[in-house]
Symmetry: D2
Subunit: 351 residues, 4 copies
C-alpha cells in the first residue's frame, strides 16, 4: 500500500505517519515527489488496514498498489528518479550518462590510457571490472582489490566517476569504498542475498538485466534493493538470450519504453554485451539513445586484440569518439544532451 501525503504536509507529519507504519510492524519508505511525498509500505504479508493511517494529519489518501513491485513503480513516484553522483554527473535527467572503459582492469597503464581517451571523447563515467564473473574457472578473474585501487587512481587523476562490479558480499564491501556506482551483473540479477546487501549500501547500484529475465523479474530484482532502503538504482538492458546467432545476445530495446511506463528508475543500454560484436556497437548505441535510454555502457579498449576478456566486443578510442559524436546528434532529436567533462586542470583543483 501507498500513503499519499497532502502537498502541504509537514516533515513532522510525514515522520508521524512513518512511525505509525513501523508501530504496525511494517517498514515505511518515504519517497519525496515534485509536489508531495508518497510513503510506501513493505513488510506486510496481507493487505494493510488503511483506516489507521488515513486518519493521521497530512495524509491525503491510501491507495492499493496494483503491481507486484511497489517502490520501483511509477505509481509511487511520478517523476523520473535522477541519481546524483556529484560534480554535476547525474543518471536519469536530461543529460545522457555515458559509461565507458575496458571490460576488465588489467593494469594501471591500460586503465589510464583508456581513461584519458574516453574522457577526451566526452565520457564522465568510467567502467572496468576488478571482479570478473567468467564462465570458466580457468579464465582471468580480475585483479580484485588491486583493480579497485587502480580505479580509485583513475578517479583522482581524471575526475571520472567509477562504475565497477561486485560479485559477492566481500567484493561489494570493497567496491563500495572505491566506486561511485556498484554494478550487479546479469548473472547475479537474481542473487537475492547480494541484492539485499546492495540495498543496504549508500552507493548507487547499476543493475543489469538477466539473460532470460522478464520485465517483471527485472523490476522485482530492483525492488529487492529499494526495499532495503537504497533508492538509487540504475537499470541496464544488455541483451537477452534467444535462438538468434548473428549477435551474442539479442538487444531488447523495446524494454526501454516499457520500463519508463512502469517505473521511475533510469535505464541504460549496454550495446557491447548486447551485441558482442564490435561493429554493431555504434549503430545500436544510436538506436538506444533514439529509443529513449538514459545513457550507455560502452566497452572501450586501446588494444582490443590483447584484452584479457571480451576484446572482440570492445571498440577503439577513435570509434568511441565517433560514437559520442553521433550520439550527441541523436540526443538532440530526443531532447537530451551530452555534456562535456570540465577541463582536466579544474579536476585537479577540486581534489
Amino acid at each position: 500500500m501507498l500513503v499519499m501525503m497532502q502537498a502541504h504536509a509537514t516533515e513532522e507529519e510525514i515522520r508521524a505517519v512513518c512511525r505509525k507504519i513501523e508501530e504496525l510492524g511494517y517498514r515505511a519508505h518515504p519517497i519525496p515527489g515534485e509536489t508531495r511525498t508518497a510513503i510506501g509500505i513493505t513488510g506486510n504479508t496481507g493487505p494493510v488496514d488503511a483506516s489507521a493511517l488515513e486518519a493521521l494529519p497530512g495524509v491525503a489518501e491510501c491507495i492499493a498498489v496494483s503491481k507486484p513491485y511497489k517502490l520501483v513503480a511509477r505509481e509511487i513516484k511520478e517523476q523520473d528518479t535522477i541519481v546524483e553522483l556529484g560534480d554535476g554527473v547525474r543518471v536519469g535527467g536530461p543529460e545522457l550518462a555515458v559509461i565507458a572503459g575496458p571490460c576488465a582492469i588489467e593494469s594501471r597503464e591500460q586503465a589510464f590510457a583508456i581513461a584519458a581517451a574516453v574522457r577526451a571523447a566526452g565520457a564522465r563515467l568510467f567502467r572496468g571490472g576488478a571482479y570478473k564473473p567468467r564462465t570458466s574457472p580457468y579464465s582471468f578473474q580480475g585483479l580484485a582489490e588491486k583493480g579497485l585501487q587502480i580505479l580509485s587512481a583513475v578517479r583522482a587523476e581524471f575526475g571520472l566517476k567509477i562504475v565497477t562490479e561486485a560479485v559477492d558480499k566481500e567484493s561489494l564491501e570493497l567496491v563500495e569504498q572505491h566506486a561511485d556506482v556498484i554494478q550487479i551483473g546479469a548473472r547475479n540479477m537474481q542473487n537475492f542475498s547480494l541484492l539485499k546487501r546492495a540495498g543496504r549500501s549508500r552507493k548507487p547500484v547499476l543493475l543489469k538485466r538477466g539473460l532470460s529475465a522478464t520485465l517483471d523479474e527485472f523490476l522485482m530484482a530492483a525492488e529487492y534493493i529499494l526495499a532495503e532502503g537504497n533508492y538509487n538504482v540504475i537499470l541496464c538492458e544488455r541483451g537477452v538470450r534467444t535462438f538468434a546467432d548473428h549477435t551474442r545476445n539479442t538487444l531488447d530495446l523495446a524494454v526501454i519504453p516499457a520500463v519508463k511506463r512502469l517505473s521511475h528508475l533510469p535505464i541504460l543500454v549496454d550495446p557491447s554485451h548486447g551485441t558482442g560484436r564490435r561493429e554493431k556497437v555504434l549503430p545500436l548505441s544510436r538506436a538506444a539513445v533514439a529509443v529513449g535510454a538514459d545513457g550507455l555502457l560502452i566497452e572501450v579498449h586501446h588494444q582490443p586484440d590483447q584484452a584479457l576478456s571480451d576484446g572482440y566486443q570492445s571498440i577503439l578510442p577513435a570509434q568511441f569518439e565517433q560514437l559520442m559524436d553521433e550520439v550527441r546528434q541523436i540526443a538532440g532529436v530526443v531532447r537530451r544532451t551530452v555534456s562535456t567533462p570540465p577541463a582536466l586542470g579544474q579536476v585537479a583543483k577540486t581534489r
Copy 2:
C-alpha cells in the same frame, strides 16, 4: 561460383559468358555493379569448373562464394540494391521508405481516410492487407480481390505505391496485378513454393523475417526469390519470438547492421508487429532509423478500436504525423532523407 567481368567488358562479352554457363547446364545471373558486372551461377550441385569460363574474353576472375547464399551476398554486388518503384519512389537509396496504412483493408471509406492521412504526413507507400493470414480460421480473413480493387483505387486517387500481402499462388497472381510490391508474410517466409512463384514475378517482393528465423535462413529465403530471377527483394525485420512478454515479439534491431554487412538487399523495420503495442511504435521507429534501416512499415488506423485486426498496435494519424516528424530528424543524423510526396494535383495529372 561468381564470374567477375572486367570493368570494360562489353555487353556482348557478358552475354557470351552467360551463354557458356547455360551450355554447361547451369543458370546465369548477371548482376550489374557500379564499375563492373558479376555473374552468379546457380543450378550446380557441386563445384563449377572455372577454367572453361576464365578463358572467355572480358572475364576478370572466377571466385568461389563462401556463403551458402550467393545472389543475395555482398560478395556478388558491393553496392546497395535500390528497388525502383517509379515516380521517384525508391527503397534502399539515401531516401527512407515509409510504408503506412491499416493492417487490413476493411472498406473503401476506411482505406481512403487512412490513405489521405498518411499521405498528408509524408508517406509515399501504402500498405493494407486484402489477404490476411490469421491464427484462427474463424477470424476475418480479408476482403480478397475486392480489397485489391480498393488498393488500386487508393493508388489512382493518392498516387501512393501499394504494398500488400500474397498468401498463396492464386492470391499472388492477383496481387501482382494490383500492387507495386508483393509482400510475403513472416509465416510464409519458408513457404518455398510461394517464394519461387514470387521469384518469377516482375514485381518487387517485400519479404518479412519469420518468427524464429536465423539470419542465414532469412537470407536463404530471399535467395529463393533471386534464384528465380527476381532481384528486387526488400527484407523486413518484424520481431522474433522470445520469452519476453512485455511486447508481442522482440524486435531484433541488431539484424539491420548484420544484414547490411552480408547482403546488398535493403531492409526495413516493422515496429507495429515488432512490438504489438501502440505506444512503442514511435520510440522503436526512431531506433530503427537510427540503427540504419532503409525504412519503416507502420500500421495506421483512424479508428483503431474498431479495426477488424491488430487495432491495439495501430497508431492514429496524428501519432503518425509526429512519427514522421521525429523520423525525419533522426534521418538527418544518419545521412538519410525523408521526401515529401508531390502535391495531389500533380498526381492526378500524371495519371
Copy 3:
C-alpha cells in the same frame, strides 16, 4: 457453439439439426461420440442464438465453447480420435503408430532396402519425402512425382502405409493420390491456404508443430483442417527452436500431456528432427512413449553417410530394431501395444 444431441437421438434428428444450422447461414460439423453426437457450429462471426436449436427434437443442450478452437477441443468430443488407415493400422488407439523411413526418397533401391528393414523391425507405416522443403534453393528438393511412385510401389510390395509431405496445392493433389497420410511440415504449419486444401482432402493429415508455435497456435492450425470437414488429423511434436545448442531443436515432450488435456486428436513425436542427432533418437523415443505419445516418426537410412538430406539424424536399421524393442517394453508400462505387421505373404494376397 456446440449442440449436444441426446443419447437416443436418431440419424434423422441429427440431420435436421444440421439442416437448421445451415439454414441459419453457418456450417454444421456432426462429431459422433461414444454415447452421443455433438454438432459443432462454425462460420458464425458472433454468438449463435441457441433458442432456435434447443427446441429441435433430439437436442439435449447447447453449450458455448470456451476455447478459441472448437472442433479440435475435448469439449466437443470426450473420446480420443482414432484415425483408421485400413488393414488394422490405426493412429490414436491403444496401439502405438511407428512411422519409419528415410528423410527423402532417393531411389527405388534405397526406398525398398529401408522399407524391408523397418518392416522387419515392426513398423507398419513408412515415411519418405518426395517434396523436400529445404533452407537453401540449391539443396536437393526431392524426386517429386517420381518419388511418389516409388512410395506407391513400397506400399504394394511391403503392405506399409505411406506418409509423405505435401508442400503446396499442386503437390498435395498428387500426394493424396499416392499416400495414406498427407504430411504438412513444420514450416507450413501456418500456411493457411495449404491447411484449408488439406481440410478438403479425404486423406488423413499429419500436422507438424511449427518451430516457434505455441500450443494454441498449433491447435488452431489443426482447427483450420477440421473446419473444412477433414476430422482425421494427427498432430506431431518435432522440437521447437530455443537457445540450446546441444541439439538441433528442443523437443518439448510436455506438450503431449498438454495436447491430450485440451484436444481429442492423436499426437506423435518425431525425435529425429526433434534432436537432429542420431545418438539421441533412441533415448528420446523411449521418453516420448513414456510421456504418453500415440506413436513415433523415425528417420531410418541404411547408408546415412550417403543420404541426400539429414543423414546425421538418421539411425541405422539395426538401431531401429533396438528402438522398436525398447519402445515395446515402455509401451507395456503405459498400457499401450506395438503390433507386428502380418507376414509378407499375407500382404501380397490382400493386394
Copy 4:
C-alpha cells in the same frame, strides 16, 4: 592437461606426480578410475609442458583436454561418478535416486507428514527449502536455520537423506552442517563465489541448470565446484525458458544423453519446476527415467492449496505413490532399479 597413470601405478607414484604438478605451480586433481587413475591439472594459464611429467615413474601418457571443461569431462574419467550418501543411498549408480518433499519447509508438522508419506512410497531422499530464492522480496523467504533444524529432525526420525538449498555463503555454512546434499538453485548456477565455496565443502552438491544455460555453461559451472576439490557433484535439469506457455518452463530431456556423453557426473530431472503444472509431473517423470536420468526431484505436499510456495506444481502423496510405481516399471526397461527404504524400526536402531 591430463596425466593418465599406468594401471599398476602405486599410490606413491601417483602422489609423486601430484607433488611435481604442484611444484610447477599448478593444482593436481587425482581422479581414480576403474582400472587406472587420471590426474587433472588446473591453474595453468597456457599449455603445460608434458615432458617434465611423462618421464615420472608410473605415468602412461599426458593428453591434452579438448573441451573447455576438464574435471567434469568423460575424457578424465570414463566410468560414471557415483555419489555415495551413506546407508546404501547413492546417486549415479544402477539405482535411481528419488528426492521428494515440499518446496519449502513450513513447519515440523508439515515436514514430518510429507516425509512419512514419501518414505512410505519409497523415496530415500527428502527435499525442502529452508532458504527460498523468491522473485519478490515480499514473498515467504523460508524458515532459515529453523527450517534446517526441522530437516535434521526428519533425517533422525525417518532415516531420509536431506537435500536443501544454500543461497549464499552464510546459508551454505549452515546447510552443510544439516544436510546430506547442498543444493545450488538455477538462479545461482553462475554465482561463481557460491560455486567456489561449495567446491570447498565436504558435502556433495546438487547443481541445477540455469534457466537459459547452454550445456557448456552448465558443465563449466560444475567445473567450478570440482576445480576447488569437491568431486561429488550431481547435475539437475529443471527446464529452460522458452516462448512456450503451456508449461512454466520447457523441460529439455535431450540434455540427459548429452550430459552422459560429455561428462561422468550423474544428472537428475526435476519435472515439478520443469513443468510447473501438477498434472504433468507424472508423465514427465516417466519420460525422464526412460530417457536415462539418474533420478528425480519431486515436489510433494499433503495440502498443496495451503503451501506457502509453488503449491500448484506439488503433487499429493497418493499421486507420488502412483509415480513411484510407474517409475519403478520404466526403470526396469532401462536396466535401473528403485530400492525400498529399510523398515523404520531399523532406521531408529542405526541412530
